[in-house]
Amino acid sequence: MSTLVAQAIVSGLLIGGVFALIALGLTLIFGVMKIINFAHGDFLMLGMYFAFFLSVMAGVNPYISALLSLPLFFALGWVIQARLIRPVLDAPENIQILVTVGISLVLQNAALFLFSPDFQSLRLSYGAQTFSVAGVAVSYVRLIACVVSLSTSVGVFLFLSRTDTGKALRACAEQQTGAMVVGIDVGRMYKIAFGLGTACVALAGVLMTPFFYIAPQVGLPFTLIAFVTVVLGGLGSVPGALVGGLIIGVVESLGEILLPSPSMKQMATFSVFLLILLVRPQGLLGGRMT
């Protein structure tokens, strides 16, 4: 039993690192623009198909696709913000949410139309290989996904805390009028935030392709997991997203072995979510962005 639990904790931490990157994208967009993006998981799905088709059609290694995905999805996020989100920034909150719900519907069903609901998976020669540490098996591709996700998150954190653009983003998050007064182009910061958030979640999708199924509907559970993570860590907080991601990863993974049926793991996640939402909506580390 104890190795089973240890195995679950290790697997949970590995996937938790990826959850952290997904949540980071969501929290960045929320922190700066105060918009909750219900299409977040669908960009993950797009990232997965991107890596999948590059690999199937051109034989591109997914880790090269990971590099390619960053500028591509940054640009996609930028354009979507400029064309679809910006016009509703002054609209009531419900309308803003519904626009992102609309984007989610469009992306999901475009994928359904173009790629069909069939589950796809990317098979790499080393996809199933593991090494073991003290009786606990560690998958290479999951380890790579976790390490790359966490280092990207640290990179984003450093970007926010060290560079001028990063500081301007944080200024927008904290005090928008103040940011405008000191001459920050708030509209541009919004586009950067949305682009960066989209690139983060798409990268997470690419990193997951070697060990996760690919389907048009794969995004929704991840949108929900990202919400759970972000609410757990505190909306808008970057360290919160990291801690929240790791916690949710372990909760899911433990839920999988401790609950009577593995597919009940989501119940554990949603219960934690509601509990946090109701009891401590500002999250564990709520408050500031960095």
Binding site: E93, G102, F115, S116, L224
Partner: protein, 361 residues
């Protein structure tokens, strides 16, 4: 006055439609395959989604609380009546009342927790999704609901007491009656003290509280009423489709379909959801018929990975897309409509029409 005449004529046309759904005139003007019972089916869906849209309108429109989990109440209504019928032979008509009671209770529970912990806007929306997902997972994992196999309603033939009919006309009239009844309820709410309270809560909750409105109580009444009425639609759905399974009913997609027509037609208006349903449902059904989808993506991927010449691959892929690809055409269209409406006329079509053509108030 104009409105009253329009409504009476419209209702008369709808009431008599089953009588001439297969007449020569209809066969002549409607596309093939859209006459008789297929035509009634489209109208029935218009009524059902108009009904659900109107139920959502009470909470999401008038009270301004964005619920993205209304599919859960559909599920409670559908499962309550079906379980009572299958296990105890209780008439689904009584099951419908029980379903309304339980879904109202569930709505009250969701609202009570959410509002007492002051969840607003996106947080309330998220909580409603989470409660709906928890309900779906629970139904999937407990035995007496049939789990992922769902519940099949045994056929007993034409039997009013069993809520079963062999042709579509009775279902058509029931759905029409439900839509008209809920519209009357919404009309009454819009003119009542409760309606004004809801209006105040939607506009500015703090200001509403400051002038002495019990905002939590108002929102709770809206949630409970909206949930209970939605549940009755769930029973109707179960009896009409005669087969229910959690992954078909309690989905975010259904919740969004319920909302969409109301937003499109105009939320917090009496006729917005009905207008929205009449405009959007036929488009969606037509898309489903014209682009059925169902193509195999696995085959497409194998073809892509093969050594065939590029032109051949391209042709094969176009062929796949021309039959509707893998499906999803209707919901894709809904997404586009939703984005366009939110950006260009966030108050919906009906208020826009009124401001252009109506008399100034």
């Amino acid at each position: 006055m104009r409105l009253a005449i329009f409504l009476i004529v419209g209702l008369a046309v709808l009431l008599t439609l089953p009588l001439y759904a297969e007449s020569d005139l209809i066969v002549a003007i409607m596309p093939e395959g859209l006459t008789g019972s297929a035509l009634l089916n489209v109208f029935l869906l218009i009524f059902l989604f108009g009904y659900w849209g109107q139920c959502w309108n009470i909470l999401g429109g008038y009270a301004g609380q964005l619920s993205l989990g209304h599919a859960a109440y559909v599920g409670v209504g559908a499962y309550t009546s079906s379980l009572l019928y299958v296990n105890f032979g209780l008439s689904p008509w009584i099951g419908m009342l029980a379903g309304m009671g339980l879904s109202g209770l569930f709505g009250f529970f969701v609202g009570f927790l959410s509002f007492h912990y002051r969840l607003t806007g996106p947080f309330f929306a998220l909580a409603t999704i989470a409660f709906a997902e928890l309900l779906r997972l629970t139904i999937l994992h407990v035995e007496f609901t049939g789990g992922s196999l769902g519940i099949l309603i045994p056929l007993t033939g034409d039997n009013f007491w069993d809520f079963q009919f062999t042709n579509k006309a009775p279902y058509y009239y029931i759905a029409l009656a439900m839509m008209v009844a809920v519209t009357a309820v919404v009309y009454w709410i819009s003119r009542s003290r409760l309606g004004y309270y809801m209006h105040a809560v939607r506009q500015d909750e703090q200001a509403a509280a400051a002038i002495g409105i019990d905002t939590i109580r108002t929102k709770l009444i809206a949630t409970t009423l909206s949930a209970a009425l939605t549940g009755a639609g769930g029973t109707f759905y179960a009896q009409y489709s005669q087969y229910i399974v959690p992954d078909d009913i309690i989905t975010v997609a259904l919740s969004i379909e319920i909302i969409l027509r109301t937003i499109f037609g105009g939320s917090a208006t009496v006729f917005g959801p009905i207008l929205g349903s009449f405009m959007l449902t036929p488009v969606a059904e037509a898309t489903r018929v014209l682009f059925p989808g169902g193509g195999s993506g696995t085959a497409v991927v194998q073809m892509f990975a093969s050594d065939a010449p590029v032109a051949e691959k391209f042709d094969a892929y176009l062929n796949f897309l021309s039959t509707g690809g893998g499906g999803g055409g209707a919901l894709f269209l809904y997404g586009v409509v939703l984005i366009l409406v939110c950006i260009n006329m966030p108050r919906g079509v009906l208020p826009w029409l009124q401001s252009r053509f109506g008399r100034p108030r």
